[in-house]
Symmetry: C2
Subunit: 304 residues, 2 copies
Amino acid sequence: MASTEPSWDFYRTFLTVLEHGSLSAAARELGLTQPTVGRHIDALEQSVGAELFTRSQQGLLPTDAALVLKPYAETLASTTAALLRAASGSRDKVSGTVRISASEVIGTEVLPSILATLQARYPDLVVELSPSDTVEDLLQREADIAVRMVAPAQEALLARHIATINLGLYAHRSYVERHGKPETIEDLRRRHKMIGFDRQTAYIRTMLKRYPMLDGVSFSFRSDHSTALHNALRAGIGIGFYQTPLARRDASLVRVLPEIELSIETWIVMHENLKTSPRCRVTFDALVAGLLDYIKGNDTEERS
Amino acid sequence: MASTEPSWDFYRTFLTVLEHGSLSAAARELGLTQPTVGRHIDALEQSVGAELFTRSQQGLLPTDAALVLKPYAETLASTTAALLRAASGSRDKVSGTVRISASEVIGTEVLPSILATLQARYPDLVVELSPSDTVEDLLQREADIAVRMVAPAQEALLARHIATINLGLYAHRSYVERHGKPETIEDLRRRHKMIGFDRQTAYIRTMLKRYPMLDGVSFSFRSDHSTALHNALRAGIGIGFYQTPLARRDASLVRVLPEIELSIETWIVMHENLKTSPRCRVTFDALVAGLLDYIKGNDTEERS
DNA sequence: TTGATGCCATACATTTATGTATACCATCTG
DNA sequence: CAGATGGTATACATAAATGTATGGCATCAA
């Protein structure tokens, strides 16, 4: 059918239209004009032999075919971005951009200070931090370095196991003053307010496997946004899990039921090809050093 | 520096030049002209801020920077190819192209007959078979479906464990007539000719772990090309490992030292996103059925 | 309703990218 | 050495992609 392969630029245009929902918006984003974007889409539809958008009321609606192609286009976009990062910066200088993926908690609470000292040392280093609890794929180059909570199963990845971060149940002082501390798990279940996750994350499954008696605990505050959860905890809404090293920084947090303890593994992972890149190398090393420092607060934690 | 992102087409041009070693050859491949290709490279060098090729005698030599970027460009190429495969064929019909990766032995000896019946049933199905012992990455979309000898470690992959394929030592009848059968491993080591792999493959390491006494066996015929190895075996050059189900098909092959037996796991793996694609679905199912059928010859094998 | 806004489609102008032709330089071969 | 082959670089012509301008059609708010 399509004898000639479409221009790769069409994929970029296609993805932008998909993300912005209109030809005009995509054109603005790309620095093109609306007719050009329309022509790109037309040409791509011609090439793949399928309608990609239904041109109807309420703007452009992506067809099923478009949604099938979307992840491929996203891979293309992340790969080109990674290529440009890889190209930037000279070979022996620490400069250019490095993109880091980490969980929300680590990314927002722990990494900034680590990265601050790193950037003070290397002023030409640009850091892109993506704190997200959806795992970004290093093989697909969505990030250069990732702080992970699971052991990396993929080959071609350079992984460094950092440590085990402990989590315990904490409440804010104001909450304890009003409701007291739970003394037993049964007490916790019946008389106290819990703060927890919305979805069934791997993290929750681990918790339930270790403490089956916690199953069925009713959460009175749920969110998938870690920062929101922690702010709820600090605001005295209820009792929730918190990373032990983090809790030590905040004197107003009180540990409850210290016999309950979870632990999550922490890994720093990087694509093997990047170990020759100075900026990735120093960032990797800085993350290792910084996180090792961070988890030091783990074991010296006084219990309740 | 480079305020504007380069055209994605430049990456395609860049990769083609890298693969073909000259502007002119790349131009022929792409259906462009040599000046255009040269301009693309110039523009890309401008964008990434690095020389990509040293324009000297003996053609274009890729710089270090170019080699760093190469894997990214390869990912782009395989992704666009996968995108086009995904786009081809209507949603409920079994048509379009499916790309299968398999080991050389399985790909050349076993799959063709399986795929023949599949294609007889679905005439519009186009199969691309890539028999290669280098593992192609499904996450990077180098193939749609893979027949693997290792358990898939990656998530987002739909994997089906087929069976354990046994390997034994075989020789051609003509070899046995001339040299006799080895009766002991020591005999094999000292008095017989072995056929084996050139590189240290995972396969060899497995073998040595199981039969350490085989270490130091001298191979009188080496190749990394499985078909060449098997033809050497059939030509009576020496003794080598062969898949038991395959050997049963050829009455002229004789098993020697039947107490030596290796086994390799077999998996069929597909990217999870593809399970809604009819052509991938039926191909996956056909491979499962066909390989299950193939390994049936495993255990009923008569010994020596 | 009316005007404002935002979107897509079309016709036309123009810039930009590409192709053609050619010169020049290597290497290999007889 | 001469000629053939295969490569890159440059100047110029051309084709192709892009931009501009405009019209039509929705939705939303006054």
